[in-house]
Amino acid sequence: MITFIPRVKVSKNWVIIAPILSIVFTIFFGLLIFTFLGYNPLETLYQIFVSPFSRIDRISDILVKACPLIIIGTGLMLCFKSNVWNIGAEGQFIMGALLAGFIALSFPNIETKFFLLITILAGFVGGALWAFIPAILKTKLNVNEILVSLMLVYVAMLFIDFIVRGPLRDPMSFGFPLSKPYPEGAIINKIPFPGIGFLGQLHYGILFVFLLVPISWIFVNKTLGGFKINVLGSAPQAAKFAGFKQNSITLTVLLLSGGLAGVAGVIEVSANIGQLQPEVSFGYGFTAIIVAFLGRLSPVGILFAGIIIATVKLGADNAQMTMGIPKVVTGLFEGILLFFLLTGETLQKYKIKWSEGK
């Protein structure tokens, strides 16, 4: 039978090898399933993993797509590290975008880009408020945050649908469920490159990522707050004896992750859409869960993980256009990837020993 023996020391290399091995295994099993369902595996492999790199504007689109994933993933990292399971980032993303959109549409003539500071703040508040519901229920009444945060995703989706078809609908939209376009001050512009012009959709929102990654690294590794989160997740008993208040940590990480998801929502809508519409998210909130795990719950890891997963997402778009494979297929890869990543985590802590007999 198989027994697991705890490792005395965790190999440093394993921290990097495990995600890479997981990706290799995932590609192998993914292709096996594709072959089984009658698709050409090599063509699929090319479309999903290679075609996103085939042109420079496509590479910059990877960054655009990775942007919300990294922002949400960083927030989720704080939750998952402290064993709080916020799986409703999708809803927090929507509510952040919605509140920011409401503010933006209330000032139709504003032109100064400083206004973006206000809309981004509004996005943070909107997302954090939506996360506050599972947070307060969890800390006050011990209600399962997994189910509450997820239920609120459905509520948020229906709510934005209602708002965009009802109160905030543009009377000039010819019956389409769209709000008025945002004022100039609430739009995030594309980045012009001298001599080249724009690179795909690459926009200034990406700067937020470059700000967020170092800040979150410092927070996690160098501050007392980050230390508390780490201890609570890895050794809850120790955290209790040290007198860390579990409830206030739970509340904080939920509000921060909700807020960041909301900010991601603002950036996505302000840079790529420019007005409110019934669908603003396309599953970023759920995909970011995989990003957080692939990044091994570390800020720098999440940066890379976001780029990898964004590549697969774009590749799946290409595969849909050229091969007619449904876009949801990325879920297949994401699910398998998560299974192997989690297995890697076990193998990091335990050695497998095979023995004969019982």
Binding site: D161, G335, F339
Partner: protein, 303 residues
């Protein structure tokens, strides 16, 4: 009125089955958040089988098998590789959403025949209750049979008591000599089977064609129902009927043009879930004994 009650029952059956299966898994200490994914697999499996074999009963079998297959994947990782159950369950739902989207793509636009109603001799002629209770389809009878069976199983059978022991304290159960991992495998697969049949019921009776993510959160509501029922089987029936009722109420409201926007009505089942969880959780935190103590904790074998 009668038609209304029949629709409420039909709407609650997928919830009832999925929640019952999850209850058994949780009683053994396994928290499987992949219910939504297992239901989706059951739905697509049933659709494929019925289109291929042209007999709705094969849909039930195919749904059950698809659910068990998904549950086996979950079991390999959580039980044998001791991965985090919450994350693995999420992974299973994400995986199944992708897989069913791919497998279901060729089925789009095709319609399947509905599961026939079975009239029970004489009883179905009883006024009022006859046509409600004794003129149902096979899965409806099956789901009630399963609930009755597991109520007795958990309370009176030796295997049921062992199952609960494993869920309450896997270390002790192991030292007494019970095969913890094997029991959890069985329990999780039973959960997968029930969720698969519950998922199959959606195309077989409720909407006879495939659309991506057609379970629409029922798997998550089923998970909430287990908490709502405080892990007591018969209470799942009550919970499932309440949720079936709320779902139908909002549909009726939309059809009759209540002066409330349809989206706000559609939120009702989800908001009701949150309210129900809140009411029950407050009570549960005072009386913790009903929650299986080893729920969600990995078992490492002999240490």
């Amino acid at each position: 009125m009668e038609a209304l009650i029949l629709t409420i029952i039909a709407t609650s059956i997928p919830l009832l089955l999925a929640a019952t299966g999850e209850l058994i898994a949780e009683k053994s200490g396994i928290l499987n958040l992949g219910v939504e994914g297992m239901m989706l697999s059951g739905a697509v499996g049933a659709l494929g089988a019925v289109l291929w074999l042209e007999n709705p009963y094969y849909g039930i079998v195919a749904g059950a098998l698809s659910g068990v297959l998904m549950a086996s994947i979950f079991s390999v990782f959580t039980i044998n590789f001791m991965t985090n159950q919450v994350a693995t369950g999420l992974g299973l739902t994400i995986f199944a959403t992708g897989l069913t989207g791919l497998a279901g793509a060729p089925l789009v636009g095709k319609t399947i025949p509905s599961l026939p109603k079975i009239e029970i001799f004489l009883l179905s002629d009883v006024p009022l209750i006859g046509s409600i209770l004794f003129k149902q389809d096979f899965v409806a009878y099956l789901s009630i049979a399963i609930i009755i069976f597991i109520s007795f199983f958990l309370k009176y059978s030796k295997s049921g008591i062992i199952l609960r022991a494993v869920g309450d304290d896997h270390q002790s159960a192991h030292s007494v000599g019970y095969p913890v991992k094997k029991i959890r495998w069985y329990a999780t697969c039973f959960g997968g089977m029930c969720a698969g049949i519950g998922g199959a019921y959606i195309p077989l009776v409720l909407t006879p064609h495939w659309s991506e993510g057609m379970t629409a959160g029922r798997g998550w509501i089923a998970l909430a129902l287990v908490v709502f029922a405080s892990w007591i089987p018969w209470r799942i029936i009550v919970g499932a009927l309440i949720f079936g009722g709320i779902t139908i109420a909002q549909l009726v409201g939309q059809a009759r043009g209540w002066p409330i926007p349809s989206q706000l009505l559609s939120m009702m089942p989800y908001i009701a879930t949150i309210i129900a969880l809140t009411m029950i959780s407050g009570r549960l935190s005072k009386n913790n004994s009903v929650v299986p103590s080893s729920l969600g904790k990995p078992f490492f074998g002999n240490q």
